[in-house]
């Protein structure tokens, strides 16, 4: 009697298979790495896929400039420890020379698309790994594991290639590239259970800590250079943690006393809100906010 693989082992094996397929078929892959939990998981899986050889890809961070210091320090320490090369594409550079202008709401997440696409063209990346998961959001549920982007980086959900068995078709013309999502089939809880099992180090802001925050649109936003608190918004010192880490202007903290992975897993299991619904203003812009951004080349 053969026993089935444990769910986490099955997911890990699937992700490793995807990394190795891309290494075998593409010339210039890159891993999008922000220092957040999903991209940290990606890098951990990439290390496991090629051990004892090094990860054969560089990392790319699209930096909004609205960062949490803890996350940037963590990002740099991972890069140093693994001996990987990190490229940083900065939204701030685009704002400084006028190629992009600041949005009225101060959110910089949607501004990441152009620096990302430019970095892909300049470095001739042909495969771009992202930490997107299908359980995050409705438009992402329709995303392929290996997803073709045209020369403008656009996603057309009606023209996706059927994805059969574990045969990924990554053929693309010069100028086109594919986005690859090795953790497509992981859920938020899978990610946390695996982080616990593998003892993966994360930035400290994922764990409960005291922070000066103010409330906007039902979310706790941190004080920072991204504007806030505004009139009528007052700072309070609360025990919070982050469930997702993105641009500081639109990533909310949740009230939490969870300081260990056990406590985080218990909290995620009991949560009545999705991680994006709870903490991401950028997905609240409209019913199809994520779909619209993905069509324009967002990850």
């Amino acid at each position: 009697m053969t026993l089935a693989l444990d769910a986490l082992d099955a997911l890990e094996s699937e992700s490793i298979h995807i990394f190795r397929e891309v290494a075998g078929e593409f010339d210039r892959p890159v891993i999008l790495f922000s220092g957040g939990k999903d991209s940290t998981l990606l890098v951990h899986l990439a290390v496991k896929a090629f051990a004892p050889a090094p990860v054969p890809f560089p990392l790319l961070h699209v930096d909004t400039g609205h960062n949490f210091d803890e996350v940037i320090d963590f990002r740099d320490s991972i890069v140093e420890r693994l001996g990987l090369r990190l490229e940083v594409a900065k939204v701030q550079d685009y704002l400084d020379d006028g190629r992009l202008v600041e949005r009225a709401d101060g959110t910089r997440n949607p501004l990441q698309t152009q620096p990302l696409l430019d970095a892909i063209v300049e470095n001739r990346y042909d495969a771009v790994f992202g930490g997107g998961r299908r359980d995050e959001e409705r438009a992402r549920a329709k995303e392929r594991i290996m997803s073709l982007r045209d020369a403008f980086g656009r996603w057309d959900p009606r023209k996706q290639r059927p994805e059969l068995w574990d045969l990924y078709n990554g053929r693309h013309a010069p100028g086109e590239h594919v986005r690859v999502f090795p953790i497509s089939n992981w859920t938020e809880l899978d990610v946390w259970r695996y982080i616990q099992r593998e003892q993966i180090e994360l930035p400290s802001i994922y764990y409960s800590h005291e922070r000066e925050v103010y409330q906007r649109d039902g979310m706790w936003l941190a004080e920072g250079p991204w504007g806030g608190p505004r009139g009528g918004e007052t700072l309070r010192r609360l025990s919070v943690r982050y469930r997702t880490v993105g641009d500081g202007s639109c990533t909310g903290a949740v009230e939490s006393t969870a300081t260990t992975l056990d406590e985080i897993i218990a909290e995620v299991t009991a949560s009545r809100l999705t991680e994006r619904g709870a903490t991401r203003a950028d997905d609240r812009l409209s019913e199809a906010a994520m779909e619209d951004r993905k069509r324009e080349g967002y990850f």
């Binding site: 693989l5 444990d6 397929e21 290390v47 090629f50 004892p52 090094p54 359980d135 068995w165 045969l167």
Partner: protein
């Protein structure tokens, strides 16, 4: 580790059904009743339902994710859904029923260990049901659930439901499904009867609820007991002793000598000491190590990503397949195959395409179709070409010989894609041999 959930396995399954069978509602019900839908998602659905003038939340809005789908009230593309219970994790491929039904059903079924096929209790087995069942049989989905939905609309009439069950059992048998591979469940996705909670209105039904069945059905597929196959994805060679500083160097021995073949076990089991043969060359050797980043394994089964080391220095690269020496696939450049045509443009006569099998892509010449399967009559008819959603049999000639198994024996090494060289589009899903040989010439 107090709150760590105990190990549980993972079931990948697919849903299929015609338009208006209530499939999105059933999926919404499964997610809702397993508490996999969270408050913000429910609020969004409630808001959207009110906007559409509905008095009760439309659970199908939970799963129709794209703007066009919500606007048109249809499901366009396969969507993947996730839920879990204390017993098991589930990955659900939700395949829409109308346009491009073969394309979507083939896609969803290709990774599924079980398929839930919906019928409307008022209509029973219809042409669309036969088509879907044929595709599921062709793709060798190991298990089927016939979900007879909307039983509230036929007053939970046992006689009517038994008749549909019997009707479908005949169809399933003619397609080659064993009786114990098929479970019929009468349910109401709208009201929740027999989905997660057992219905008080079907006292005559003694079988499991849908979720109960999904939780208890064996996950291990036929690949586990098949002979060992490992398509080589990548050769791992650290090259120097300073490489691999991320890994625990002492575990691996001298790294400059390390040469491992990375892949995911397609079928069977491999252990150190196993005699293996590398195809297509045909050289035989022995497995010395089954490595993972966490250390060596005593054995690895189907689905696991590993790196093997071999006793002999063999010239081996991506595209080669390591197989059990005592049970080898056929190495051939002439392949009899069944194609599911997925491309918008039909098969051209003597088309020169690309064929992707395992980790190898080679050129292929596709012959004139020998037959097309009429999914309505379940017979073979003459065909000059194959168009979108057609299933037909062809002979292929490949530029390189390929080690292939019959799809009916091993899905992973019996499947391939046909790719259009200029556009790169996937034109067809290919199955080696004739997995529906039970179907006769009409």
């Amino acid at each position: 580790m107090s709150s760590a959930t105990p190990p549980r396995d993972l079931l990948r399954f697919a849903t299929a059904g015609s338009v208006d069978d209530g499939k999105s509602t059933l999926v919404g019900r499964l997610l809702y009743d397993t508490k996999s839908v969270l408050a913000d998602q429910i609020e969004a659905v409630q808001r959207a339902s009110v906007d559409k003038g509905l008095s009760t939340p439309d659970l199908s809005l939970l799963v129709d994710g794209l703007r066009a789908e919500r606007e048109q009230g249809i499901t366009i593309d396969v969507a993947y859904r996730y839920f879990s219970t204390p017993a098991r994790e589930f990955v659900l491929a939700d395949t829409p029923g109308h346009v491009q039904y073969t394309r979507n059903t083939v896609t969803g079924a290709s990774t599924a260990e079980l398929a839930v096929l919906l019928v409307d209790a008022r209509h029973g087995v219809v042409e669309q049901t036969r088509r879907h069942a044929t595709v599921l049989a062709l793709l060798r989905v190991p298990r089927l659930v016939l979900a007879i939905n909307k039983i509230d609309l036929v007053e939970f009439d046992e006689g009517l439901l038994r008749a549909i069950e019997k009707d479908f059992a005949g169809l399933a048998r003619s397609l080659g499904f064993a009786d114990d591979a098929v479970q019929t469940i009468p349910l109401s996705a709208l009201e929740g009867d027999n989905v997660v909670e057992r219905s008080a209105k079907t006292p005559w039904y003694e079988g499991p609820t849908l979720l109960g069945h999904l939780e208890s059905v064996p996950v291990v597929g036929p690949e586990a007991a098949a002979p060992f196959r490992l398509p080589v994805q990548y050769v791992i060679r650290p090259r120097s002793s300073t490489d691999g500083r991320s890994a625990d160097a002492s575990r691996w021995g001298p790294l400059h000598d390390y040469r491992g073949y990375a892949g995911r076990v397609a079928s069977g089991t491999v252990r150190p000491g196993d005699p293996v043969t590398v195809l297509p060359e045909g050289r035989s050797t022995t497995v010395t190590h089954v490595d993972t980043a966490d250390g060596p394994l005593d054995s690895a089964g189907a689905g696991r990503s590993i790196t093997v080391r071999l006793a002999d220095d063999i010239d081996l690269s991506r595209g080669d397949v390591i197989v059990a020496t005592d049970s080898q696939p056929t190495v051939t450049s002439e392949i009899e195959a069944t194609l599911c045509w997925l491309g918008d443009t039909p098969l051209r006569p003597n088309a020169r395409l690309l064929l992707k099998h395992g980790t190898r892509t080679t050129q292929v010449l596709v012959g004139v179709p020998q037959a097309r399967i009429d999914t309505e009559t379940l017979t073979e008819v003459d065909a000059e070409t194959l168009a979108l959603n057609d299933i037909g049999r062809v002979t292929l000639r490949t530029a390189d010989p390929l080690p292939v198994d019959d799809y009916a024996d091993i899905r992973a090494t019996g499947s391939f894609l046909l790719i259009d060289p200029p556009s790169g589009n996937t034109l067809a899903a290919g199955l080696v041999g004739n997995p529906l040989s039970i179907i006769t010439r009409g």
